[in-house]
Every structure is written in C-alpha cells, then in structure tokens.
Symmetry: C2
Subunit: 658 residues, 2 copies
C-alpha cells in the first residue's frame, strides 16, 4: 500500500486499538457537553467566515501580518455586531479561534477591563461605551524601554497643574518612552498610561491616566505624541507592539483613573484603600492563562501524536517493515509526559478558578482571614504560571522536534503555536519574579507556623515531613503507581526544600538574592506538588471506568516523570533510595506502552477541529502527505516557475555573463 494511503490507516488502527470513549474525557476537558457544543458552533462560525478563516499568516512578514490583522479586526467586530455575539465567553472563543492575536488584542483584554476595574462611576459611564463600541481603541501603556518588571522604576511623569486642572504627561528621557504595549504602535487612539505623579512637588507614586494618542478623525498622532511600532518579534506579529513618547502633553484632571487613588481639584491626593480584589483579578487572569496553556499543550500533543502514529520511519529489526514513529520508546518517553502536562494544566487551571470563585464569595461575605487565603491563591498562581509557561513552551517545542523535518516546516503549525505561547514566560510576570514571590510566600507561611498551622494544606504537613530520617516506603515499581504514595513523595520533597531554604535564608541574613537558586527550587517543588494534587483530584472527578483509569495512568506517568527529572531532589537525605530511584525509572518505561494503547484517543479527547489545529501533519484523518503537498502549493514562490529577478541575479551567474 502506498504510504499516503497507509498513513490514514495507521492512525485509524491506533484509534481502533484503544478502549476508551474520548467523549467522556472531552466533557471533562471542555467543561461539559453543552459548553463544548457551543464552542464548536463558534469555531465553525470562524472556520466558515471568508476573512476570519484566513490561515496564511505563515507566508507573511510582520508588516504584512499587521496589515492583514486590521482587516481581520474589522471583520471580527462586524461579526460580533451582526451576529449579536454579546456574551464575553463567546467573544473570547471567537477571538481565540482566529489563531493569532491582533492589533485590538489589548483593547479587549486589558483596556476595557482596566476601565471597568479602575475607573470611577463617571469615568466608566463616559469611556466604557466608547470603548465597547470600538469608537476609541485602547492600549495599556505601562512597560517602558528602560523598565518592565520593576514598575516602581518607570520614568514617565505626570504633574498636576492646579491652574488649568490638567496633568502634564511627559517622557523626560529616552528610556521613559513606553515600549512594548500591544496595539500602541499604529492601532490605538487612546492609552491607559502609567506615570509617576507629582503633586506640588510631592511624588505620590505611579498612577494610571487616559491619554488620547491619535485623532479619531484622521488617526494622525496628536501634537506632542511620538508613536510607532517596535518591529518584528518571536510571536504576536499581527500585533503592533509599539513605542510612545509624550512631549509635555496636557490631559484633564478627570483622565486619571480614580476608582482607588484620587486627585481632588485642589491638588489633594487621596490614597487608595487597600484593594484585595486587585490580587483576585490577577489570580483570575492567571487561571485563564493556565487553561489556555493547557489547550496549547493539548493542541501540540494532538498534532505530534497523530503524526507519530501516521508516520513510519526506520526498519524493524527483521528488516521487513518499518516502525511507526510512535513505536519508538524515546518518542513515547518525550511525548506522553507532555500529553500529561496538558491534562495537569487543565485540572490546575480549573481548580484555580474554583478557588478563586470561593475566595470571591468569602471576600464578599467579609469573612475573616480572606487575606491569608488571597495571599495563598496569589502565590500559588504565581508559581503555577511560572512553571507552566516554561514547561508548556518547552513541551510544544519538544513536540515540534519529535516531528523531525515536517515539524520544522510552518505547515505543521507547531512553530506558530510555540511562537505565540513562549512569550508567556515573560509577560504577565517574568518567571524569576514570580518564583521569588512564590518562594517568599512559602517562607512567610512557614515562619507563621504553628500558630497558623492550618492555613494551607501543604504547610500543615511540613512538621510531619521534616524528619530527615524519614524514608519513602515504596517497595515495588507498582507502589509508584499509587497516587497517594506519589502525593506523599512530592509533599516530603517540597517540605524539605522549603525548610532548607528557610535555613539558608537565615544564614544569609534574609538576603533573597544569595538564595535565589534555592528559592526557585522551592517554588518549583511546591508548584509540582500543587499540579500533582490537582491532577489526582482531576482523576477522581472523571467518571469511573476505563477512561478514569486511562487518565490515572497519565497522572501516574506525570508523577514518576517529574521524580526522574529532579531525582537529586527526591534522593535528598536518601528519602528515596538508589533502588527506589531505579523503580521509578522502571515505572516510567512500564507505563509507556500502557498509555500508548489509548494515546490517540486521549488527544482526540481535546476535541480540536482540523481548522483549529491548522496543521498538515496533525489532521484527524491522518492524511498528512496529501495535506503537505497541498500546503506547499500555497507558497507564493510557487506562483511562477521561474523566480522573480532570475534575469537579474541567476541568469548572469549561470550564463557566466557576470
């Protein structure tokens, strides 16, 4: 049989060999059947749209992608209006399905929510309708050329002029220009600008202001505004990430966002009340980011699994046939843990959303100790975001490499997914900052023991696990398939790293930088524990049966694989013996064929359409070779047989008329 026809059959065979019903798991991963049906309807709306279904971004430069992105933005807004899509979640799905963020990305994701959260009633009444009807387009201008993570270091200044009741916004230095904000370069008419506010010569800290950048009549930058695009990037190339310098421009007093801090007409500064809800908003954003990361990981794992099943390469020992790429132990050993990460991230994201919602209720009821609960939530979300942004990015890239040369082509879509995801390591809190926040929180909570002993599940165990003579009591490989035993292993490891950190911090007079590597290890240890806990809880939420067992195998692999990745940690104080370490490695190798049985179905459960995956090698039907040939035909170079400028540059070479 020809390879092109064999490929689809091999993939079908994998499905036939499995024994689970992917729909059961789809309901778990996609928040129930109703939500998933709605999602699929919306995906179809995009897939059938003459413009929004565009999938040719791979052929375009940044400049061209931005230009086409404007067209998409226009049709997207038109679709929302004409289709009557008012539900925020529907809109989010429609937007995400387009497959690349656009110039209006920050307008919807940051500008409008910030107006909602930080504008006072008057401001909300004035600005929100304009923004929601796209009569103004907004950017969120915090980061500067010289400062990102350290918001307190930003240099843009706002000075209050009592006489005119205006703020003068100025960029006093080269490095004070805003740099990076999405949509700022060419799209936005307005921006929420963070600037250091001076009142009567008094610095009252960084505040947020609404600044008009461009005329709403002809889109020209207003006087005193210097604005442009910062150029091509790894990802987001349809977005005009921009720069902006303010040359003593004036805005009305009422353009400072005044829900929290205020400046009164006489120049009095009213300090903001402590607003715990800001933290809660961050937790909420991160929970959704984590669920998005889970989906991207699921998409990459789906593409890679299908390709590995459909692709044969390399002679079998009898020299008679060829292995499916999926047959190789190394392929399984690299791929399946990433499939497991997609499930782990999904469960962790869902669990974070639940915790957020219950914290929200507690806060609304004004109950005691919500501060501690919030601090925990915020810290955990920091650690999880840092861990997942890195491991999902690396996991997507691993999947790409596992597809060999075909993964290297844009036709696989894996390079695009990676490029759009990997920025998550940097934005919404750089990993180094987040792991330190998380580590500091763990230390702080540890210090408050035993008085606060029950504040968190994890730390209540610290005392129990701190005895360095404690040994893991696993005796067989199978013991490492016991999820409760695995959990205990991760609890012990996290407890000990945090205790070690506390000792080091003490010895270093609380100099965090001198213990930063260890603090990162503490954050990682705790994040992995939280992920495993969420995964185990997730397994138990799946209806019992083969599907549950199948997810349990993934969970089991996830745990064993994490142990093997950081074996030194787990062997500290010989908690795991050298023999137990061997058992863990045996367990990993043992689980690979077990998981392989259902691996295609476990990825099918993510229920991505071919349109969403946009991958010639990740098609549901396994018809990868025809798809690759078809995609290559779209390359603009193939429009002519002889390349442009042949006469100028190739002919003189070949005909030696140099």
């Amino acid at each position: 049989m020809e390879l092109k026809d064999l490929a689809p059959r091999l993939l079908s065979k994998e499905r036939a060999n499995g024994d689970i019903d992917p729909d059961v798991l789809t309901n778990v991963l996609r928040d129930g059947k109703a939500a998933n049906d709605r999602r699929k309807q919306l995906v179809q709306v995009i897939a059938r749209h003459p413009v929004l279904s565009d999938r040719d971004m791979m052929f375009r430069s940044h400049t061209e992608r931005y230009a086409f992105g404007l067209k998409k933005a226009f049709h997207y807004v038109k679709l929302l209006e004409e289709g009557g899509y008012t539900d925020a979640h529907d809109r989010w799905i429609l937007y995400k399905t387009m497959g690349e963020p656009l110039g209006i990305d920050v307008h919807r994701a940051m500008f409008i929510p910030t107006l909602e959260n930080q504008g006072d009633d008057e401001q909300r009444a004035k600005w929100l309708p304009l923004a929601k009807q796209f009569k103004i387009l907004g950017a969120y201008a915090q980061t500067e050329l010289g400062h990102g993570s350290n918001v307190q270091g930003i240099e843009t200044v706002a000075t209050f002029d009592k006489a005119t009741q205006e703020f003068i916004v100025d960029s006093p230095t080269l490095t004070s220009r805003k740099w990076w904000p999405g949509g700022l370069g060419k799209t936005a008419t307005h921006a929420i600008v963070h600037a250091r506010l001076t009142l009567d010569g008094q610095d009252v800290g960084v505040q947020a202001f609404i600044v008009q950048l461009r005329s709403t009549h002809d889109h020209m930058p207003l006087p005193g505004i210097e604005v442009g695009d910062i150029g091509p990037k790894v990802g987001f190339n349809a977005v005009d990430n921009g720069y902006c310098a303010f040359h003593r421009i004036r805005i009305p007093r009422k353009n400072m966002l005044m829900r929290h801090a205020k400046v009164l007409p006489d120049g009095t500064f009213v300090k903001p009340q402590s607003d715990k809800l800001v933290y809660l908003t961050m937790v909420h954003i991160r929970a959704y980011l984590i669920k998005t990361l889970a989906m991207h990981m699921g998409a990459a794992a789906t593409i890679c699994t299908r390709f590995s099943a459909a692709r044969i390469q390399g002679r079998t020992p009898d020299l008679k046939g060829e292995f499916q790429v999926l047959d190789y132990q190394n392929q399984q050993h690299k791929l399946f843990p990433r499939l497991a990460i997609s499930y782990a991230a999904h469960f962790a994201g869902s669990s974070l959303i639940e915790l957020h919602d219950s914290a929200f209720d507690v806060i609304k009821e004004g109950k005691q100790r919500f501060g501690a609960k919030l601090a925990e939530l915020h810290a955990v979300s920091s650690g999880l975001k840092a861990w997942l942004a890195e491991h999902v990015s690396d996991g997507i890239e691993t999947c790409r490499r596992l597809c060999g040369g075909h993964g290297f082509t844009q036709a696989s879509n894996l390079p695009h997914i990676f490029a759009e995801v990997v920025g998550a390591i940097t934005y919404e809190g750089t990993s180094d900052v987040l792991t330190q926040q998380h580590g500091r929180y763990l230390l702080k909570t540890l210090a408050s023991l035993p008085s606060n002993e029950k504040s968190t599940k994890f730390l209540s165990q610290v005392a129990r696990y701190s005895d360095s003579k404690l040994r893991c009591n696993a005796e067989t490989r199978q013991d490492f398939g016991n999820l409760d035993l695995l959990l205990e292993v991760f609890q012990v490891r996290a407890a000990r790293v945090v205790l070690e950190l506390a000792g080091h911090m003490n010895a270093a007079n609380n100099d965090g930088n001198a213990c930063m590597v260890l603090m990162t290890r503490a954050s990682t240890s705790h994040a992995e524990l939280i992920l495993l806990e969420a995964f185990v809880q997730g397994v138990r939420s799946v209806p019992s049966g083969r599907e549950q067992q199948s997810v349990a195998h993934l969970c089991s692999l996830f745990g064993a694989w994490l142990i093997a990745q950081s074996l030194g940690d787990f062997r500290q104080h010989d908690y795991l013996s050298t023999h137990q370490a061997d058992l863990v490695r045996e367990q990993i190798v043992h689980l690979l064929p077990v998981i392989r049985k259902n691996c295609v179905l476990l990825t099918d459960a993510w229920d991505f359409s071919d349109f969403e995956l946009n991958s010639a090698i990740g098609r549901y039907d396994g018809d990868i070779y025809r798809a690759l040939v078809k995609r290559a035909a779209d390359e603009p170079l193939n429009k002519t047989q002889v390349p442009k400028d042949y006469e100028k540059y190739l002919k003189p070479l070949i005909q030696s008329s140099l």
Copy 2:
C-alpha cells in the same frame, strides 16, 4: 545619570572589574592571532559591502527573503571572483558572515563536495568546473516526503535501459517526491538525486545520480520535472527548500556517480569497495558543525552577558538603587553554564578535528586497527553532535529568555540565531538516530573487552569503575573544583550507565527499542564525559596565568552544573552521597560570583564584531537603548504615520460607519 548613558558605563565597569586579558583567550578560541586577524579582515569585507551587509532579514517573509537571497548570492559570487577569494576557508568565513544561508547553500556545502568525493575522474573533470564557476547550480536530493532518516526506505527509482544506455528516474508515489533539499525549489539547475537502482529487475540499492532539473537557458523546469518550494520554515527562510517529482525522465548512464559503485555499459553492477573515508568525511563535517555550534553559543552568550550587565531592573533591598540584571543569582546560574558550553563545544570541536586529522594520517599509512579508531571517532562525533545540537539550541533560547521582552524582539537577534541553529537537532542525523548509534558503539566495545581493552580511553576504565561499592572520595566543596576528581566522577557515571545498559539489553534479548531511553542516557553520559575531557584538556592548553584560571572556573562550573542537572545518575549506587550532592550545589553557587568577575571579558574573548552579532542589545559599547530606538525606526510600518488600509478597516470602526 540617564539610563541610556548609564548602560554603557555599567558594561565598561564590568570590563574594568575583570582581571584577565581577553586577547589571550581570543587566540585560543579563534585558532591563533593570524587566523583571527584574517577572519576579521573578511568580516569587514562583508560589513562594508553595499548588499552583503544587509541585516534587514527580520522584516521579510520567506518569499521576500528568498528573493533578496538571490541578490545576495549574485553579489557573493561576484565578490569571490572580483576579490580573488579562492581559499575555501576564506570563502566559508565570507559566506557565514552574511548571517543567513542562501539558495546556493547546498551547492557549495554538499553538491560540490559530493561531486568531488563520489564522482569518478571523468565526472569530476566534466562537472566540477561547471559547478565551481556557478554555470550549474546544484541541490542534494536525498530526503523524500515519506522518508528521511531511513535512507533505505526511499522510493524514487532508477531503472537502467541498456538499449539507450540511460537511466529512467521516476517518482512512483506521492511520498517519493524529494522534499526538503535546500536550493531545490527555485534555484538549482541540477541535483544529485538518490534513487533505488534496478538492473535487469534486480534491486541493487540506493545510488546517486546527476539529474538536470531546469534549462540553463531560461531556467524553466525540464519536461517531466515537477519542482517547487515547500514553504516557510522555522529557519533557513532565505533558502528555497524544495520538492521535486520525476516523471520517467531519462539521464545518460554516465550521470550515475561512479567513483565507488558502478554500472557498466552491459548493465553489470560493480559493488563499491568498503570506503572508510566516507565515515571520515562525516566526522569532518560534524567537527566543523560542532565548532559552528560553539560560535553560535558564544554569540548568544555574548549578547546576553552584555545586556545583563548594561540593564538594570529591580530594586535593591535598601530601595535606593536597582540591581544590574547580571547581579541576580538566577541570571548567573542560567547564563554562565551556557557560556561554559560555548567553550566546551569549542574545545570538543578542535579535539575532534585533531583526532580526524590523525586518523586520516593513520589510514593513509594503511596501518592496522584504523577501523576501530574510525568507529570510535564516528560514534563519538554522533554523540557529541546530538548533545550539542540540543544543548546549544536550548542554551540560545535560554539566553533569549534571560533578556526578557528585549530578547523577544528580533532586534536582539537572539530569535534569529535560535531559528538558524535549532534545525541542527534534525539535520545531519536526527538526535534519536545518533544517540542510538553512539550507544550501540559503546555496547559493542564493551562486549569486546578485555581483548580490545585499550581501544578507547573510556572503556579501559569500565572494569575499574564497575564496582558498585565504589564511592566518590570528595570531602569538601573545594574537592569538586579539582578537575581530575570531576573527570573521575564522570567516568564512573558513564561506565555504570553503559554497564546497566548492557545488562538491560541482555535481559531484553538485544531489543534496542525496549532499552532506548537507557541507551540515550548512555550516549548522554559518555558525550558529557568526552566534553568534560576536551574542556579539561582545553584548560591545560591555555597559557598559564589568570586567563587559564578563569577558563578553569568555567570548566569547573560546567562539570558541577552537569552533575546537578543529572544528579540522580551520579547518585546511583550512592556513588555520590546526599552530603556530596549538597557540596556540588554549594560549589555551583560559590563559582557564580567568581565567574561573574570576568564574565564580560570571557565573552569579549569570542571577539565578535557588532556587525556579526547584529544585536541592538548585545553591542560592545553597551549603548543598547539608543540602538533599540534606532532599530525600531527601520520597521516598514513606521514609514507612514497612519497605517495602510486605515480608511478601509480602522476608520469605519472608529467612526461607527460599519
């Protein structure tokens, strides 16, 4: 002081704080002063050339990059002719300095060398002058849509027609079309095509043929040739990686490359004699690839180190100042091991070239046992290539992430370096294939012990280290700074993993796939030992003094860091105790500030010009902020204040005339 002026000063300060002379190390890294001076002259030739100095690839799509690449190729050839650059190494430097491979890449790197190595005298006389004068442009067409790593699986067929003394070359299936060869899509007029040869119905295996693809008059594809570009990729976007299908085209008998195998006019097949030199050629190619990887790692480490020194971010604990990014322990902990990898790879590449040259001499003299020596060289080069392609790619990406948002912009050039390097994991032997070859070699040599005991340095030690009761005798942190002790630690670990593999293979009836994960671990363990050996030897080749000490610190960090990365391996059988594991981690943290003292000078030693680095944030003078602003001005979107199609797509939104 303004940040833009502070940045250059901070970088100068780092240089002033160091106490080594980078020129001493430049001589080591750049093969002596004379070679380096010549290299710098040649770099200047490109930097001053009106076309070849182009650095705007970041703004272009694949289609545009290919088009501009033709222009570059034309001017490059013109430069060679007009400048009289005939030396192969000079040409290589000129070519590499352009910063991206072009459509003629494979013509120079594969087509011409293959004619030289596999053409008989008559063929060489006919084809080489044409190729060297660019009257024909060649591709190397082995890989197909359906087959890459498994060359024996390729489907293109050649059938000998005795009557006409021709071969009929045909692509019988969709998947038999050639897929991926560089330059094949739009540039090449000819290709060396690998096809399965049939003589009188007898399959005699895969052979290489010269096939003309396009007319040398008008560049149109010849009848029966279907050819085009496969589309955009992660890297190599100035190259037209292509596809080609042959529809029963005919070529003369003399177009089969006949230096080794032959087909006589009567259709008799003359089998090739075993040609050990083919292996030697592969070793040679890999040695240079390893040195290229070293340079890319050096370039990325240089950019990241300079940026980290010039950039401040994050308040110091006294809240009075800000840390240089280089101050952070995490930054040092991630960056310095990658700087160390650049040195390790350089020394390993150089050592491989020396081994290659001495093997070449041995073979020429016809001495005994060159077979064993060659097998060792080939296996070691496989393992090193696999390890370094992966770790250098990941190292570059780590450096990019360490530069935060500024690393994410193409202006940093780190994304471009990554994209051009990461393909090395796949091409010239996919990692999975290479590590298996390497692992199999280790097993084979192990099996031949003790009779062949002295054949390799490493395996002669196996017996000594196989005693599982052996313990590392390090007692203090300082002991892990002893390079001989470090070497022994790596020897023990490699010996034990290989022995473990032998045991598992035995138990698995020699089923390699059932032991593939462990075999990969064996390859990694041995590759890391070889790297460390080359590094230690390299340290000893540096003139004694502070420079040597400084490189020794890097070597020491490299060893300790590798131990920490795979601590589980080193703790197997408790060879390292839990206390010793702590000492290794202490040693890493101890070395960071020691290396920091000279880190900028250690990267300066790579002696990259700003032109070569092409990075706004990696400038020698640290003037990063002005450079970023200047680079952004080049973005085509900034040519107009109002973006193209504003009237069509933005105005209707903003003015609600939807």
